[in-house]
């Protein structure tokens, strides 16, 4: 798989390419897909060489459009990634998911004593900030616990 990235991209005519995923995180991103998307053709390469990142994961999905909520979930898992939308074998658009300061829903609090974990009808609310080391700092606005990703 190593060093064959350009060829692999050419294999997609319509769909999206998620690139620059933190190495090893690709599998978690795949888990975020709605099941109907999983019925399409997916390419997933893990721990491939990257001049910029050392190692990275890459995912290609044919015949799919991205929606905002899904993008946000993906961005939270791997803040460095880029998403290319491919139409007719050409890169039509490159998307760098931008993070809002506050995210409602989507993230689940990892503090088992948090009210949002037990009272599941509550919509989670997180304040998100990118730190200098590139990691994301996520603070639950209910219990105030801080998580990094």
């Amino acid at each position: 798989m190593k060093g064959k990235e350009p060829m692999r991209i050419e294999r997609i005519n319509n769909g999206i390419v998620i690139d620059h995923i933190t190495a090893g995180k690709g599998i978690e991103i795949l888990k975020l897909f709605p099941t109907e998307i999983l019925r399409t053709k997916i390419d997933y390469a893990s721990y491939i060489d990257s001049p910029r990142m050392g190692m990275k994961d890459i995912i290609k999905i044919e015949n799919v459009d991205v929606n905002h909520e899904w993008l946000l979930k993906v961005a939270l898992l791997a803040p460095d990634l880029t998403i290319s939308v491919i139409r007719d074998a050409k890169v039509e658009e490159k998307i760098n998911p931008t993070l809002p300061e506050v995210i409602e829903g989507i993230i689940t609090c990892r503090n088992p004593k948090c009210v949002t974990v037990k009272e599941t009808y509550l919509t989670s609310l997180f304040r998100v900030a990118r730190q200098e080391n590139g990691k994301l700092r996520q603070q639950c606005q209910f219990c105030e616990h801080i998580f990094h990703s």
Partner: protein
Amino acid sequence: MTESFDFKGRHIIDTEDFSTAEILHLVETADRIQEMGENALQIAKGKILATLFWEPSTRTRLSFEAAMFKLGGNVLGFSEASTTSSAKGETLADTIKTVALYADIMAMRHPLEGSALAATRYSDRPIINGGDGAHLHPSQTLGDIYTLVKERGSLDGLKIGFLGDLLFGRTIHTLVRLLSRFDVEMHFFSPEGLNIPDYVRNSLQAKGAVFTESEDMNGQLANLDVLYVTRIQKERFFSEEEYLRKKNSYRVDRELLEKAKKDILILHPLPRNEEIAQDVDDLPNAGYFRQADYGMQMRMALISKCLGLM
């Protein structure tokens, strides 16, 4: 944060939601209510406070209820989860929505962190957080501030020591965070491994607060104006031997107080174990029972302000 001395309809969830001026206004309000004497009984006449305690905390609940009775109001509520509909699976949201129909204001204690903030989403009545798990307990913190002001005249220049388990003591963390807004010096004395948590230390450093940390009080005791003692539990120690060896370093008795300023004020959130010897109780320095009284007086102020009655 919108600064306003009109608290009508506001919730008391976290002391950080309030400006310093607002906090000093609450202190002043507590004073004004006490000056009213018997007339305070007219303040909340006909109003209802619901005390919703999903976990037992007799002390806090009694303090809220006494505060409401002293304002001439009425109280209803429950004091443990097993007697409530939540034992039958009712959600927090449904309980709050229902009680909001009966009561004018609520004081709640709940084991989950963030529960009080969650409750405000379902209530058009003010909610006072009486403790949400190990998270916040603002009425205690504000009561402690009121105690310091009443006992010392002002917070300015106070040298305050904190003794005992400073890692798990929630009351300490919120109090320290609030005190760091004022011109005070703080000294932390705790067994190794039970020091103030990193986030408290970081926030003190960020605010430029003056503080020291050590395992014993020897170097500082003689300079302290106030010593805030916390409960120290045997289970927190590494071993039984360690507990026996160290527990006396975290115990206040008459002998220890001979090495302190003559008028040092001793505080404790209560209930206590062995951290303060009973022979200290009769000394004028023993402020911990007055502290419980001031805590109730602060709750009178909180109830009156949130109902828009003061």
